[in-house]
Amino acid sequence: MIETLQVYFQYPFVRYAFIVGILISLCSALFGVTLVLKRFSFIGDGLSHVAFGAIAIASVLNLTNQMLLVLPLTIVSAVLLLRTGQNTKIKGDAAIAMISVATMAFGYLIMNVFSTSSNLSGDVCTTLFGSTSILTLTRNDVFLCVVLSVAVVALFILFYNKLFAITFDETFSKAIGVNTDRYNLFIAIVIAVIIVLAMKLVGSLLISALVVFPALCAMRLFKSFKAVTLFAAAISVVCAIAGLLISILAGTPVGSTIVMMDVFAFSVCYVFDVIFSRL
């Protein structure tokens, strides 16, 4: 088994996949904690559908660098979703549902009508569930991913204290003069970036898992924000590595394997929590 892996690791695309997988799972877990606690995870879900629509447009237009279209579109949608979500709570939810299904339907429609690809259902499936193999990452993909991930992690560290304060009690922060709207905007933009990055790894339908599961695992076991954040990041990276290894060795689809690892980790944390709280 070790030998098989050694052979695989000689290929650059395998190394790329690991770099990308580790970075994305790290970023999504870090902001996942805030997202879950702020009850913003629905925005993440809505955005992943928007990103699907954007990718459909990009592939129909035959853009060489899809990111140039997908990233700005998703960021704009994130800002809009946040606005509607804040103004009127209930209608915000409905707005997100509307935008989600509309962009998905639109995406599939134009892919169907205009696509020149010979393997349409394969393309759609890849966008929804991630690539079946990890051979598709190009050097450019990896480069972009590294740059954006480093930026996301740096911003997280820089604004960690503010993120905690605003997540815990936005009113208090506002009362002592913090511009909370600006930070909410910042969170929405970073989420959009993470979602777009994660599309490559797990596909648009499975992104929420990367965001939500590590945070929920950590919240089962730890009681301070710092511990939860660190553990979420760690478990997320471990799951990504395990998922990638299994998918290489067993030939399973990358995205779903990683998500299954997250589900497994959550069950373990759940059982752990139940046993420990009984003691």
Partner: protein
């Protein structure tokens, strides 16, 4: 000069005026209690003082030596989610957060301030405990310690004793009084507890159909005060 002046102030949401034409002066060292029925606009007034809600008419004037970010605030029933993972120390320390994005980290002095305020509130031994597992009274002390990290001058407390048992309530009132007497922190507190208001406050602001603003002694003798106290007693 006064620490805080409300001039000709009307508060409310959008164009709906809830409280009209308030003229109140708060001086350093005062202990002002805001009384009034549910929905009379007490919390709204407090939010207006904090600039969380814009005034409809009139203005809130802060004294020269009081900056906007030097006001400590204890919100009414902070609706923290039941399972929010946060330690007591993390929460108290967040009272030291700076408005500016260019000060992202807490200094050692901030951490010292947080520790001192936890001692003041007698919760130093709970520092690493999970906030969600504390009792209601302990949670209020944590939030009070956080508010103290934000101010040395003025505390705004929105129903700090709501839902606490009589013993814990009295302990909290004593703590607040000590902050007022010993540390000379000006207190503005919303309360439904007229007994405590009359016992601890130096000034009373009663809002509702009849607005009263003045010293406690004057309030006890006033029509509004008499009416409210007898109704409360029955």
């Amino acid at each position: 000069m006064a620490l805080l002046t409300l001039r000709n102030l009307s508060v409310g949401y959008d164009k709906d005026i809830i409280v009209q034409n308030l003229n109140v002066t708060v001086n350093a060292g005062d202990y002002l209690c805001i009384l009034g029925e549910n929905g009379s606009g007490k919390s709204t007034l407090m939010k207006t003082i904090l600039s969380l809600t814009p005034p409809i008419v009139g203005e809130v004037i802060l004294g020269e030596d009081l900056l906007r970010n030097e006001i400590g605030y204890l919100p009414q029933q902070t609706l923290v989610q039941k399972d929010f993972p946060a330690s007591v120390f993390e929460i108290v320390l967040s009272g030291c957060q700076k408005a500016s994005a260019f000060q992202p980290f807490y200094s050692n002095a901030d951490k010292e301030t947080a520790r001192r305020n936890m001692e003041r509130m007698q919760i130093a031994d709970l520092a690493s405990h999970a906030y969600k597992n504390l009792s209601g009274g302990q949670q209020q002390r944590v939030l009070l310690a956080r508010a103290l990290c934000a101010t040395k001058k003025l505390l705004l407390l929105d129903e700090p004793v709501a839902g606490l048992d009589p013993k814990v309530t009295n302990e909290l009132y004593d703590l607040i009084q000590r902050l007022n007497k010993e540390d000379n922190i000006t207190i503005i507190m919303i309360s439904h507890d007229i007994g405590a208001a009359v016992k601890y406050a130096t000034h009373i602001l009663h809002i509702g159909q009849h607005i009263f603003s003045g010293t406690k002694e004057a309030y006890v003798k006033s029509e509004t005060g008499k009416l409210f106290m007898t109704r409360d007693a029955t």
